[in-house]
């Protein structure tokens, strides 16, 4: 059975359909890339899965159990963690304090939570910056911090919303390596990304969306050759 199953997921904003009748599944231990042109509904999918938005229709199951209608904190408790495309640190707090707040979910005692947080910060490469105020970190480090917060909730499934957006080539390589290490530690990853080269390299499978619908799914090198995908990205004439 798949770790995450999404069936017939639908959500409109006014008359605009952001996601319509979307179905896909994520297998335990894989890295799934969710790609598509701007405005194709990728972030909305994350918001629906994590409870920040309610679907109008459809099912979302983690390990066979529905998470539809749960508030975000309850979804996090079930084991789905997410990052935000525009990072949302607790700006006035130190990196350690940021991650400790997330670690409280599994470690009620402050000392345990802080120890767990320091460990996670080390894993994402922020071991030297524990006491840095979050708002003073570089964008790359804020993205790492965002991942550390998500990881500190010890998720089974991690949803990363453009973890490489705005990073330079070296930083993208570092971030890719980090995603691989996260998967190696036993966390399943779904990744929304605009940096095509990166996502093609690190994803086991990709789901391509356009205007709220799934238009292709499969191994990255196959998917990029499909006419529907080419049409969505480059226009019909190229295809």
């Amino acid at each position: 059975m798949a770790l995450l199953e999404v069936q017939g997921l639908t959500r409109h904003f006014g008359g605009v359909s952001a996601v319509s009748d979307l179905s896909f599944s994520v297998n335990e231990g894989e890295i799934l890339g969710l790609i598509g042109p701007n405005g194709s509904g990728k972030t909305t999918v994350f918001n629906l899965v994590t409870g920040f938005l309610r679907p109008l229709a459809g099912a979302i199951r983690l390990d066979g159990q529905s998470v539809v209608g749960m508030r975000p904190h309850a979804v996090a408790r079930r084991g789905i963690a997410r990052t935000f495309q525009i990072v949302k640190p607790f700006p006035g707090l130190s990196a350690l304090e940021n991650v400790t707040l997330a670690a409280f979910l599994r470690h009620p005692a402050r000392r345990d939570a802080e120890a767990a947080a320091a460990l996670v910060l080390g894993r994402v490469g922020l071991g030297e910056r524990l006491n840095e105020i979050a708002s003073r970190l570089t964008l790359m480090d804020q993205k790492r911090l965002e991942m550390a917060k998500a990881l500190a909730t010890t998720p089974r499934l991690l949803l990363l919303d453009e973890p490489m957006g705005g990073l330079n080539a070296t930083e993208v390589d570092n971030a890719s390596e980090l995603v691989h290490r996260i998967r190696a530690s036993g966390v399943t990853v779904v990744l929304v990304e605009h940096v095509m080269k990166a996502i093609m390299k690190i994803s086991d499978r990709v789901v391509v969306m356009n205007q709220g619908e799934k238009i292709a799914e499969g191994r990255p090198e196959r998917v990029v050759e499909e006419p529907a995908v080419l049409a969505a990205y480059f226009g019909k004439h190229v295809a």
Binding site: T50, F52, R71, P72, H73, A74, A76, R77, A81, R82, F84, K88, P89, F90, P91, G92, L93, E97, T100, L101, A102, F104, L105, P108, R110, K149, A150, A152, T153
Partner: protein, 319 residues
């Protein structure tokens, strides 16, 4: 934290020494006001300072406490030391529906909703005459004869009220200190910093806010209960007016948002300024009061205590 304990003990000693050192009843009256405002500022601070939820309607909770206490005394003969905590409990109970309604909204919309709730409570107090006596209000003509440690308590002196206000202020500041070190306190700071991010890492933000509002309401309600016994008169304008809500905000802001001692410092300064300018200028004293507040907010947005703490931290780091 290591320096907080001696400071707190010193504070309690000073608190206990004041009525022994002076027989000036006006000075004691001012001290009582400071302590009462400390309780109210602290009540507002746990929600507004720590969780960043700016309430403009805390007078509603104060009013519920004041009415509960005075009605229990006048109609059931319940003594103040039961009535005041029960006033706090009543305010906490009333806070649950208020929280569930208002916390659906964020930021300025939350603030406006609390303002509306306070007006509703005031209108209820004005019109539900069978319970609240409407605009006539309630008056306490005599307080119960009490013997404590073999002595008759003299209600005409300020000392019993000073003791009660002091005890409430200590409770309020201890509660704030506990909150700052607790997991709930950490959650509140997360909510203040970024509510979505707090939810995303598994913090039940609505529950944290509702629980905090209840704590805040309990303190504000006890402040209201104390007010009822000290001033012996409760009517809607006195206990449910918007100026009361604002005063609580000012004390917390001037003292230092999200600090433990801030409300005490804010209450000392604002009460002192209010009394001094009221003495000097019969008319228009509120202008000076407002001016003082503007200067603090302009030049010390982190509050007097917040600024003092930053300066001492810098001095310690410079050594």
């Amino acid at each position: 934290m290591t320096r907080a304990l001696p400071a707190a003990l010193l504070g309690v000693v000073v608190l206990a020494a004041i009525p022994l050192a002076t027989r000036n009843s006006f000075f004691l009256h001012v001290c009582i006001l400071v302590l009462m405002w400390t309780v109210l500022g602290a009540a507002w601070n746990v929600l507004g300072g720590f969780a960043g939820q700016v309430s403009f309607g805390h007078a509603a909770l104060f009013a519920v406490g004041a009415y509960t206490t005075i009605i229990l005394y006048l109609k059931c003969g319940l003594a103040p030391w039961w009535g005041i905590p029960l006033g706090g409990v009543a305010a906490a109970l009333v806070s649950f529906p208020i929280g569930i309604l208002c916390f659906r909204l964020r930021g300025p919309y939350f603030s406006l909703a609390t303002l509306a709730v306070a007006e509703i409570i005031k209108l209820v107090a004005l019109n539900w005459e069978s319970v609240t006596a409407g605009s006539v209000g309630y008056l306490i003509t005599s307080l119960p004869p009490v013997r404590l440690f073999g002595l008759n308590v003299n209600w005409e002196s300020k000392t019993p009220f000073y003791t009660a206000a002091g005890a409430l202020a200590v409770v309020a500041l201890l509660a704030t200190g506990w909150l700052r070190g607790s997991r709930l306190g950490a959650y509140l700071v997360a909510i203040r910093e970024n509510e979505d991010a707090a939810e995303a890492v598994g913090i039940d933000t609505v529950r944290a806010k509702v629980v905090t509002l209840a704590l805040s309401a309990f303190l504000a309600g006890m402040g209201g209960g104390f007010y009822a016994f000290y001033f012996r008169y409760v009517d809607p304008d006195a206990v449910a007016g918007i100026s009361l809500s604002m005063e609580m905000v000012f004390i917390a802001v001037v003292g230092g948002l999200g600090t433990v001692a801030g409300p005490l410092i804010g209450a000392v300064f604002l009460t002192a300024v209010a009394e001094v300018v009221r003495g000097r200028f019969q008319t228009g004293h509120l202008i000076f009061y407002g001016l003082f507040m503007m200067l603090v907010i302009r030049f010390m947005p982190e509050g007097i205590w917040g600024r003092a703490r930053r300066l001492t931290a810098r001095a310690a780091a410079g050594e």
